[in-house]
């Protein structure tokens, strides 16, 4: 009797093991980047690995061409199709040129999403933007307002007057101004994303507006030039330079205090969220307008009419975390 029971339990156990074995087949998710050896994407890979660890049954294939060419990415995509990966999450070098290859991937049952730098609509199931114009517009004003104790003048130093991205962000920023009564926006000037012109425009602002409390530069060139101008004018502590910048370039300004805090998307979060989305869509989540697809600790991605979603507010960098990120990107 006991022998029979033993045999039965062993058989049951074996069946259970086989069943879980079949279940535990790992999902292979390819994180395709613009080119290997770029700090921003290495950081995204860290986030992807974090997501893989959290999910357990995921293997990340971190890959990309040597140069930032569409042809190189297509060769990579073809080899991923041949390997029969479960999902491809790509930051594209060219939104159109990679689309035919990605369409082929989808025809062979591979989940395809784009993140950071998008792919034309027909070449992916969804696109994850690091942030949205509205979130960026709000963040840059908030960054200035957070460090103002009383009402004061604030000026914007932008890129060119025709830069699509910056213009949309500034438009969104002006919409939220009523929420921040301390912020008195006095001027918007254009440094054309040239270091010397941005520096001169910032100098002009400092001289023209004696009550200036903050300069907002939603461009990596502008914020760097403005923080330099404030430092050279000896106005550290009086004028706070903020906006969108790269941690590696801004580390000095944060050290000196010319910039108290600034923002930009966090590549680790982006790689993490892209992996989560690829995993969930590959497991049956429908990528369609209006859908909400979970992305782990980053919440859920809400898809718009173009199947695009925004991840989150831009990530804020200050003295507490600049050391950690300045070596990443």
């Amino acid at each position: 009797m006991s022998i029979l029971r033993k045999a039965l339990t062993t058989a049951a156990l074996a069946t259970a093991l086989i069943a879980t074995g079949a279940h535990a087949e790992t999902k292979r998710i390819a994180l395709v980047v613009k080119a290997l050896g770029i700090g921003f994407f290495e950081a995204a890979n860290k986030g992807a690995e974090e997501a893989a660890k959290e999910l357990g049954d995921v293997e990340i294939i971190y890959t990309g061409p040597t140069d930032t060419t569409a042809e190189g990415q297509i060769e990579v995509i073809n080899s991923l199709i041949a390997q029969g990966v479960d999902a491809i999450a790509i930051s594209a070098n060219d939104p159109d040129a990679v689309a035919p290859a990605l369409q082929k991937a989808m025809e062979r049952g591979i989940t395809v999403i784009s993140w950071d730098s998008g792919v034309a609509k027909e070449g992916r199931q969804m696109h994850l933007n690091p942030s949205s114009s509205a979130l960026i517009g709000n963040t840059i004003i908030k960054l200035a307002a957070d460090h103002m104790t009383e009402k004061g003048d604030v000026a914007i130093l932008s890129a060119t007057s025709t830069s699509t991205n910056q213009n949309v962000w500034i438009e969104e920023a002006t919409k939220v101004l009523p929420n921040y009564p301390n912020v008195n926006l006095v001027a918007t000037v254009y440094g054309d994303d040239l270091a010397d012109k941005s520096y001169r425009e910032a100098q002009g602002l400092i001289q023209t507006y004696p009550n200036l409390k903050a300069i907002i530069a939603p461009t990596t060139v502008g914020i760097l030039a403005a923080s330099q101008a404030v430092t050279d004018a000896g106005k550290i502590g009086q004028i706070n330079v903020t906006g969108l910048g790269l941690p590696s370039e801004m580390a000095g300004a944060v050290e000196s205090g010319a910039t108290i805090s600034f923002a930009i998307w966090n590549p680790i979060d982006l790689g993490y969220a892209a992996t989560m989305l690829a995993y969930n869509i590959s497991n049956g989540a429908k990528a369609e307008p209006g859908a909400e697809i979970p992305m782990g600790r980053m919440g859920a991605a809400k898809l718009d009419d173009n199947n695009e979603a925004a991840m989150s507010d831009p990530f804020t960098y200050d003295k507490s975390n600049i050391e950690q990120f300045k070596s990443i990107f």
Partner: protein
Amino acid sequence: MTEISAAPRVIPDRLTSPLARALRSWEALLVVVAVAVFAINSFASPYFLNAWNLSDATFNFTEKAMIAFAMAMLIIAGEIDLSVASIIALASTAMGIAMTAGFDTPALVAVGIGTGVLCGALNGVFVARLGLPSIVVTIGTMSLFRGISTIVLGDEAFTNYPDSFAWFGQGYVWWVFSFELVLFAVLAVVFFVLLHRTNFGRSVYAIGNNPTAALFSGIRVNRVRFILFLLTGLMSGIAAVCLTSRLGSTRPSIATGMELEVVTMVVLGGVNILGGSGRIMGVVLAAIIMGLVTFGFGLLNVPGIVMSIFLGLLLISVIAVPRLLAKVRK
């Protein structure tokens, strides 16, 4: 016969038998390398031996190889064309303009190939008529052609190519044989005949070995040179049609850096970079080897930079080893 005559002297018809010569040839070495790469790939990745996957892999080299055929003849004649990738960019841009103007597929193909021929003719005029060194001329036109494309497009792109146009880069003639693969095979035969079976081909070798002697033997040296540049332009135009169709779009950065891969293919194929010798079969094999190596490494997710290092080492070793052996023999 030798048994009857006691004379010890034998004068052979040929110095070596054709078979022995074939076995010791560059092409034989390349066949060995190709088979080795194929075998290693089959063992290294379970995904390699699959008709569709191998078919996908051919796209890694078909366009480059088309240009490499014409480039091989140009290099054998002692010239070089570094503007081929830029010709692709300009031809692709011209097709984009034609597409925007409302032309359909046949006209687009004609525009692409026509632009390529015109670019080749420009190079040819500078080199053959004005007598300028080809490396200088084509470095210049390399910037010129891509520059025009960049001015026209800026950071924009042409994208709405007609559906029927996609066939050249994405279509299949039969089963796994893509249009590009079939075109590659047909062109290989055409260039084999042109280089190895016609008077024109012989004159290319003659010019590469000694242009002055070729001139005095009655070969119209500059005309041959001009035709060779025209041919390279033509092939670049055809490659532009295929690549544009495969990408379904045009950007000024299209085919960046392709000229060096084409030259690598030609040199790996056993064409003497100083001119005078080389065979089409070698270029065909080199193209296949480069395609298999890139694809095999891709399947193993080897980073691209390692692939470049490997190709560089392969190139240096296949050039150095025979010369070192020759020195050792001496």
